[in-house]
Homo-oligomer: 211 residues x 2
């Protein structure tokens, strides 16, 4: 079973803090959903871990689906932007930036995180086939992710670190998909070494996109 980490409300029940309560619920919902998936997640567990009750939840969110939408906007999207897009924006060499950020990420994050996989990918895979609203919302985040990679490669072309004849959009699509796939392999396979070797091959192949 999973280690049930909990983020209790710092000022439990004393003062009123609607924004804090809402953020607390989103954070615990993110963890619950990340660990169990959307269908497998339980509002009761989220509430128990948060130390608030259903009244609070349904005061801030109108449904479980609404809560998930908030998780996507307030937890998943910022995480994607911070962890994956900012390093790309700060560099003029997208190939190198991708290599750096993936290697540091693979090395830095906990086995627990690795086992749970990419939150965006998990939800996209679980819900895209079943619910069109979720699919659209999650795909918006994925699109922004891809757009960030694409922009980085376009800048790379301008600064001379990427060949002129490559299609940045297509490369972005591939890079995104490959990273999702590799993160999924890590989750499934336990054999991190083999996946890392696959990643290195990919990074090597990307080197072929230089002038």
């Amino acid at each position: 079973m999973l280690t049930q980490e909990t983020t209790k409300h710092p000022t439990l029940g004393r003062t009123r803090d609607p924004e804090g309560t809402r953020a607390l619920l989103v954070e615990n919902a993110f963890r619950e959903i990340h660990a169990h998936g959307y269908a497998g997640s339980s509002l009761d567990r989220i509430l128990a871990n948060s130390g608030v009750t259903k009244g609070a939840l349904y005061h801030h969110f109108k449904s479980k689906a609404d809560l998930l939408h908030a998780v996507i906007d307030d937890a998943i999207r910022p995480m994607v932007m911070e962890r994956w897009l900012r390093p790309l924006e700060e560099s003029d060499d997208p190939i190198r930036a991708l290599a750096d950020s993936t290697r540091t990420f693979m090395g830095s994050c906990t086995p627990e995180e690795l086992r749970c996989g990419c939150p965006l990918n998990n939800l996209a895979q679980e819900l895209s086939g079943a619910d069109e609203d979720f699919r659209k919302h999650l795909n918006r985040v994925a699109d922004d992710w891809r757009a960030g990679i694409r922009a980085a490669f376009e800048r790379g072309q301008r600064t001379g670190s990427v060949r002129e004849d490559v299609d940045p959009a297509a490369v972005a699509s591939l890079v995104f998909a490959t990273f999702q796939g590799l993160s999924g392999s890590v989750k499934t396979s336990v054999d991190r070494k083999a996946v890392m070797a696959g990643l290195e091959v990919f990074l090597d192949l990307l080197e072929g996109l230089r002038p």
Copy 2:
């Protein structure tokens, strides 16, 4: 909502056909789980679509989990072997074989299938973090898949279609992950063209592995 295809028992209630009943349940369970995920699947719906009752189900399977294990063995594994490994085994040029089978696959399968994604990947992503037995079972299939790709590249090295200095295991890990990721993108993105472009870039990059 999904189109609820049903496979009724041909000899409904007349003659006894334990193997047929079992196969029927596995087939409908596969469809249900493929469409809704494991947590989101319902035994009652599977039974309704199969035209049998709970007595039959729990005669052949001891639990929902047991049914999923049967689905993995009797539906998912054969599909992987038939669709993805056999074309590789029949060719001496793995790069060309991969290009051919992916292109024909992307072109041949229905929008419905595309939207539901890869059954193996779906389950692996959903369950690997939650249930160790499922993770192991699904990873066994994935390992065989990877092993098939690896064997094809080793044969390619022997027959001269692949460079000697590439690591077949690492390439297999990458190819598998990338295909899973691309199939996941198709599922999420609706924009098939963009994903296909990403696939073409990948196949182009693989050409770089030739002597």
